[in-house]
């Protein structure tokens, strides 16, 4: 497939942008001197022949690190304040469906709190028959479920309404991550507390400095809301809500309240700052949609994507992620010509509800300029729209207007030189 290059030099070419490996240059990559361990790795000497010396001993009490040759990390969006900021998942080099917990995107409004689980409780009160508190130990005694779900910030891609802005897929789509979550269904708690006639909404509250609150329809809470403490086989990461978070499959990320400490059942929504002043979608008409909670069908090609460079004509396995907040991904199409012709992609695993699925498409690049796109079709029949279609509906007051829920088809232009760039096409 890459007759002129070794595996390691190919990687140097493909992922050159901004990485330590790329800076070292493709020709020297196989023996590149790594001077500083990347985040999450430990630096070890590299033997000339690993079969001729003993490797590292097995260490008791260790946690494990990744290879010193892997460099991808989250990238913080440059908000003025580091406590109310977000960091993006490096989708461009990801494989499979699951986001490593250490690379899951973050969004905080008051920093990451440090919480002792022994002192953390969940209070459920309001329009319930019995107000109750549950310790973490109590919660872990209850029957649990384990499900894979994506979380996507409703602002994922908000920089891209007016013109292509971010250079990489991490920048355009990195507020998306998928984990295997473990916890207790809200419905289980509702049976413990009982619900009063007329109950229709639930306020969820976090234990961070922002004391984040969102109102969630009770119907959603009873249908599939999870109160989770596990992420990818271990406790949730602190930046993801340790020790407890709300998980609302398919809903916008801001509603998945982290560091969850309280659920108040009510007959009406509370109209918190987040659900009025912030996470509402201002349309061209001047009216704003409120409680636009579902994340709709979306997909993105992660390879090749912005800032990558293809070394030359030949075979490439186009790959990317597709997801929908309204159920399962039904199918994914790929276009090589700005959407004039579409071909069915291959799904690499059976789609699960409100979960990403990786797709791929075999591409024999002839060396001519191309525009690569993907579109997701979900099981409700919804076809991922173009940006033009969304603007026709929501108006064009762009980055100050309908900034959320941008699920338009993404375009990557491939030049004859093999450079891949973010374009509107």
């Amino acid at each position: 497939m890459f007759p002129r290059r070794t595996t390691s030099s190919r990687r140097g070419f493909l992922f050159a942008a901004g990485s330590l490996v790329g800076a070292a240059g493709a020709a020297t990559i196989a023996h590149a001197e790594v001077l500083k361990a990347p985040t999450g790795a430990v630096l070890y000497d590299v033997p000339d022949d690993p079969t001729k010396v003993q490797g590292r001993p097995v260490v008791d009490g260790s946690y494990g690190t990744r290879s010193q040759f892997e460099t991808e990390a989250r990238m913080r969006y440059p908000t003025p304040n580091e406590n109310t900021s977000w960091s993006l998942t490096p989708l461009g080099r990801g494989v499979g469906n699951i986001t490593p917990s250490g690379l899951h995107f973050e969004r905080h409004h008051g920093g990451i709190p440090t919480i002792d689980p022994a002192k953390h409780n969940l209070l459920i009160h309001g329009m319930v028959e019995r107000s109750m508190t549950f310790s973490m130990a109590d919660i872990k005694r209850l029957p649990s479920v384990t499900r894979k779900h994506f979380i996507e910030c409703s602002g994922n891609g908000l920089t891209e309404w007016n013109k292509p802005t971010m250079k990489t897929v991490q920048g355009t789509h990195g507020l998306l991550s998928t984990s295997e979550w473990t916890g207790v269904q809200f419905a289980t708690f509702a049976r413990e507390t009982g619900l009063k006639e007329g109950a229709a909404w639930v306020l969820a509250e976090g234990a961070d400095a922002a004391v984040m609150t969102r109102s969630i329809p009770l119907e959603k809470m009873l249908k599939d809301a999870l109160i989770v403490y596990g992420q990818n086989g271990e406790a949730i990461r602190p930046e993801q809500g340790y020790p407890l978070r709300l998980l609302l499959p398919g809903y916008e990320g801001n509603t998945h309240i982290k560091w969850l400490r309280r659920l108040q059942v009510s007959d009406k929504p509370f109209m918190t700052r987040e659900e009025t002043a912030k996470y509402t979608d201002l349309l061209g008409s001047g009216k704003a949609r409120i409680f636009s909670l579902d994340m709709e069908a979306k997909s993105v090609i992660t390879f090749p994507s912005g800032e990558m460079k293809l070394p030359g004509p030949g075979f490439y396995n186009i790959t990317g992620l597709a997801w929908t907040g309204r159920g399962r991904v039904q199918s994914v199409d790929v276009s090589l010509d700005s959407g004039r012709t579409w071909y069915p992609a291959r799904l690499e695993s059976p789609p699960e509800p409100m979960c990403t699925v990786r797709f791929s498409f075999p591409w024999m690049w002839d060396g001519k300029g191309a525009v690569l796109q993907s579109r997701c079709i979900d099981e409700t029949g919804y076809v991922q729209p173009t940006l033009e279609q969304l603007i026709a509906i929501r108006g064009n007051n762009g980055s100050f207007g309908s900034i959320y829920h941008l699920n338009a088809i993404q375009s990557w232009a491939v030049s004859e030189a093999g450079d891949v760039t973010n374009v509107h096409a």
Partner: protein
């Protein structure tokens, strides 16, 4: 409702932990968790547009001037226009009325927020940024009065308290519509 209650009662009183396989499969209550006292719930607040839960106390714009200057102006500026400086990033609070349908909409308390009760809830919950939740209820009422007065939504002389706050009519109160999705245009 009554049927469900009596079934729950049966489960609590008779079936749970009775040891029979049949009862195990019908568990309704697990008996895990503690009954919460009224005091525990009283530690928390969340103020809906009805004003339910607003505490005693009151404030005026005049009193709010001082509180704002000492605890808010560093981030939101003394003119309430926000401070985008590195390390700060305080939101703009005033202006933008009439801009929402234009090319550069400006979303502020004055132009965008539909309920004044939300302002009390948010300030009490999270402000000031360097010492979240440290303001006394009278200080919060005063800040709300000051911001609403500077926005010309209330008169400078008005007192804001649990009774008056829910009655405040925000300029953009009718600016919100239910989510219209799925967008039917996309199914044609």
């Amino acid at each position: 409702m009554s049927m469900r209650n009596s079934w729950f009662g049966c489960v609590i009183g008779v079936c749970l932990f009775s040891g029979s396989a049949g009862a195990q499969s019908m568990v309704g209550h697990f008996g895990v968790g503690q009954t919460a006292t009224a005091d525990e719930a009283a530690k928390y607040f969340s103020i809906p547009p009805s004003g339910d839960g607003l505490p005693a106390g009151s404030g005026t714009a005049k009193a709010g001037v001082e509180v704002f200057a000492s605890t808010c102006a560093a981030c939101h500026s003394d003119k309430l226009q926000g401070n985008p400086a590195a390390g700060i990033g305080g939101d703009r609070l005033l202006g933008g009325r009439g801009s929402l349908a234009g090319k550069t909409p400006v979303k502020t308390v004055e132009s965008y927020w539909p309920y004044a009760t939300t302002l009390f809830d948010y300030i009490k919950r999270t402000m000031p940024f360097s010492a979240p939740g440290s303001l006394k209820d009278d200080e919060v009422y005063s800040l709300v009065a000051y911001i609403l007065s500077e926005a010309r939504i209330i008169k400078p002389s008005e007192t804001i308290d649990a009774k008056s706050l829910p009655k405040v009519q925000m300029p953009n109160k009718d600016g919100f519509i239910p989510d219209a999705r799925p967008e039917l245009e996309l199914y044609r």
